[in-house]
Chain length 219, copies 2
């Protein structure tokens, strides 16, 4: 486990502190679709992503979803250890979007270290600030950006993550990411198809005109 890849402040920890992190980390493999952390009842711990791809989202009372952020290799998920921060008063769910390999650091160990190490506390602060920034970006999107642009940006992002122009994703799943009903996604995708931007087939969305999508996404 090369901790300095996750913690740029690794050198500022004492050997004892370094061993505490390394010694407490638990290795875990999760399958695509697995829910790793669920709401406030769970306090899974800090997740360090070794490989794969996770999604953090919130759920409404009646089961609607919206993605809050996505996590990739070398990212750290802090909110899965929210029990160690008393002022975090919201529940997120974390799910594997691909088969993933993780390190999990138990929250009590991490909290103890954060309390004695200013560098670690400040670095944790930075991780939180990053997530906070992503959520602020999301608010701007929801408030001020029309759905066609958000969908265009999402298709481009997916295509980049999956490294393909032919996306195997259901309309419902896209709706869950963007916080919209499946019908709204389907309607807009049909509009994109009529405009020659995508081609829809059973279970897949083929991007035909990347340039138009980019124009939509960036205006």
């Amino acid at each position: 486990m090369d901790c300095s890849e996750y913690f740029p402040i690794w050198d500022k920890l004492t050997p004892v502190q370094q061993n505490k992190i390394r010694g407490s980390a638990i290795r875990r493999s999760v399958k695509k679709g697995a829910v790793i952390h669920s709401g406030s009842t769970d306090c899974t711990g800090l997740l360090l992503i070794r490989s794969g791809h996770l999604r953090a989202y919130i759920l409404s009372e009646d089961g609607r979803e919206i993605s809050i952020y996505r996590l990739f290799e070398l990212d750290i998920c802090l909110l899965s250890a929210s029990c160690m921060m008393q002022n975090i008063q919201f529940d997120i769910t974390i799910e594997a979007e691909k088969d993933s390999e993780l390190w999990i650091i138990p929250p009590e160990n991490y909290k103890e270290l954060m309390e004695e190490s200013a560098p670690l506390a400040n670095y944790t602060n930075q991780i939180m600030a990053s997530r906070f920034s992503e959520v602020m970006w999301l608010i701007e999107q929801i408030m001020w950006r029309s759905f066609d642009k958000r969908l265009a940006a999402f298709l481009l992002e997916e295509s980049m993550i999956e490294e393909t122009g032919r996306l195997r994703i259901t309309h419902e799943k896209i709706g869950n990411h963007l916080g919209s009903a499946r019908e709204v996604v389907t309607r807009m995708l049909h509009y994109f198809q009529k405009e020659g931007i995508v081609k829809l087939t059973r279970g897949s969305i083929e991007i035909l005109d990347t340039k138009r999508l980019q124009e939509l996404a960036h205006t």
Copy 2:
């Protein structure tokens, strides 16, 4: 300046650190309507609210607003010192909603202390976590709550803050808080009036049926 009121971890700072905070704090009075901090060009510093009432909001490119949180006596505003946290990548504006008295701690002084004191770094973390939680709550409101309920909750909140059942606030200002167009606010207020919940007069909104508002706000 009684710093322990703002910093519950005051006793865990050394006398030198305590003096650094106390010695660098600048006292400032601001008038209602004054903009204290504006976007990323500013790095005002940490704001400690002595009295009054501030509002933090974000602005769209075409000038639309939505309130992110409000600050009252003894609150600390961290995001007005966002330059000291490299991962905060969004711009907020902070405006006085009432005449207010503040202490301002320059960002460079605070950052220096945060880097050497784990208790201060962790406390700063807690402040950020609180604001983060408020923003997550806001997303849930925007995504999953109908406008009548949000407006009802806002009227009750205003009435509590102002300690009156007769609110002197324009429809436009309400729209700015909630991220909605003035017309949408006016339409809903007229509906509330028709239902006997409020009475509208030039420049004011009188709450007639608090119970109905509460029912709306809490469902």
